[in-house]
Amino acid sequence: MKRVYVNEKWCLGCHLCEYYCAFGESNKKDMARALKDIKINPKIWIEEKDGVSFAVSCRHCKEPLCVKSCITGALTIKDGVVTINKDKCISCYTCILICPYGAVSPSEDGAVQKCELCVKTTWGTPACVEGCPNGAIVFEERG
């Protein structure tokens, strides 16, 4: 299955992935209109320290702890993609505490949010990958 992989060697810490993530989520045609005067809450974000930076997002683990820990079945695996059903989420945040990658976060409406590889957006493929100017985020099959 194709997943999003990051390579810190080429990450410039430009944070464009975060903005493309938020844009992809907005389902709007124009990024300026989608994100103007909005504080974004993306599902991928840059960690940086001492000159090293890289993007962090859901790994879509084969045996995801978040899915195991979800007490309502809001988190499920669908075609390999760890997916959130916001209607079922009761905001207990167990998944946030248990994810070893810190890839699950609360959304504005309280339910958790996480990268779903843009399968629910109009982009279809991960927007962060398309928006990365230096090939530091790739969407590929690695077995």
Partner: protein, 501 residues
Amino acid sequence: MAVNFLYPDYEVSRNDDRCIACRVCERQCANEVHEFLADTNKMVSDDAKCVNCHRCVALCPTRALKIVKNNNTYKENANWSAKTMNELYRQASSGGVLLSSMGNPENYPVYFDKILLNASQVTNPSIDPLREPMETRVFLGAKPQNIERDEAGRIVNNLPPHLTLSMPMMFSAMSYGSISYNAHESLARAAEELGILYNTGEGGLHEDFYCYGKNTIVQVASGRFGVHPDYLNSGAAIEIKIGQGAKPGIGGHLPGEKIVGDISRTRMIPEGSDAISPAPHHDIYSIEDLRQLVFSLKEATNYQKPIIVKIAAVHNVAAIASGIARSGADIIAIDGFRGGTGAAPTRIRDHVGVPIELALAGVDKRLRDEGIRDNVSIVAGGSIRSSADIVKAIALGADCVYIATAALIALGCHLCRSCHTGKCNWGIATQVPDLVKRLNPEIGYKRLVNLLTAWQHEIKEMIGGMGINSIESLKGNRLMLRGVGLSEKELEILGIKYAGE
């Protein structure tokens, strides 16, 4: 602060309706033009620091940015232009030589733009390269003067060492130091994939790139940086750099701050020491001396590698080339006055040398007149901007062209001409690790491969239109060229007829 006579050349124009304050401009500008004001949630910019490299413009995800020419004006004066006055202010404040980068941008004639190509109509068939075979392969090196046979009458292979290129283009010399590791890797990998050659420049060859040896020209320049037996033997050819089109007659100076780590090791000089290339080779004061170096290098490489001698196009270029063709060199590279550089004194760059088109035509004619054209191949460089320039250069007598500025543009260079500051925002002309990583060779080499592949297609289309199916058949074929807007003298030097003739 003392009065600064200089007003910014450019304005950073930001469309506030489109700016989402993502701060990518701020994070990507090594000149610190942009700044985020948290209290107002707005970006602001300091125009004075902008070099117009377009990094922010290219990366702005909402296209909120553009750089515009500042229309602040002095009293109009056809003689004292704003540029002249600003340069004068700059020198009056610094007392220094003005430095510039990349090729001569001044308004001298571009002869390529005054030459038009021929095409077949009715009486001779043109060739469609999509349907018929078309050869763009070229061979560089001295050609045998006669056929030799052994006692049994079999032909003896007396071909001197040659370079085989899949297309008549090579990447010209850019040293590791003047450009980044990632830029070098992009060029080397592209050369390998395309079946052409790139050139190390005078900074030696990084140990990681020895694996690209068969696609490498190793350069020996006046500073002799990084020259050792393995280096000479690692490449497919050796180039003796006598001069560079951007700065004929002067040497080079890579400041000590840039001589760090790998660059110091590759150049074989101590960290922090200035890398000074003398103006002349101190052991070459005549063609005879040049011949000694040519044969020293041949000896050192067991007569296996062609030797290139690269000179800047200057007034007596034809006579100089004639000498080089008799020096034992296999290839002459001529670099026109628009050739690029990582740093040169502005006055030298803008006022010394001659156009490559005239130099090339003059050299080719002289060598043919003297019957020594087959002693050498000719490589023309110094602002080859498109495949049309290549076709014209070959028809004027070149065997192949050198490409550098165009290659850098393919890698992202926007010709801001600030290489000498060492803060290239595109990761090309810099050694700052954070900036170098902006050029991912995986992306870079593909862009180079794309560019040259596209040019190869275009060359096939153009020569096919002339009814020629091999680039070698176009070489020196000046009947395929016509001039427009040229004087009788210019036509004579170029050896071409006027359009309509």
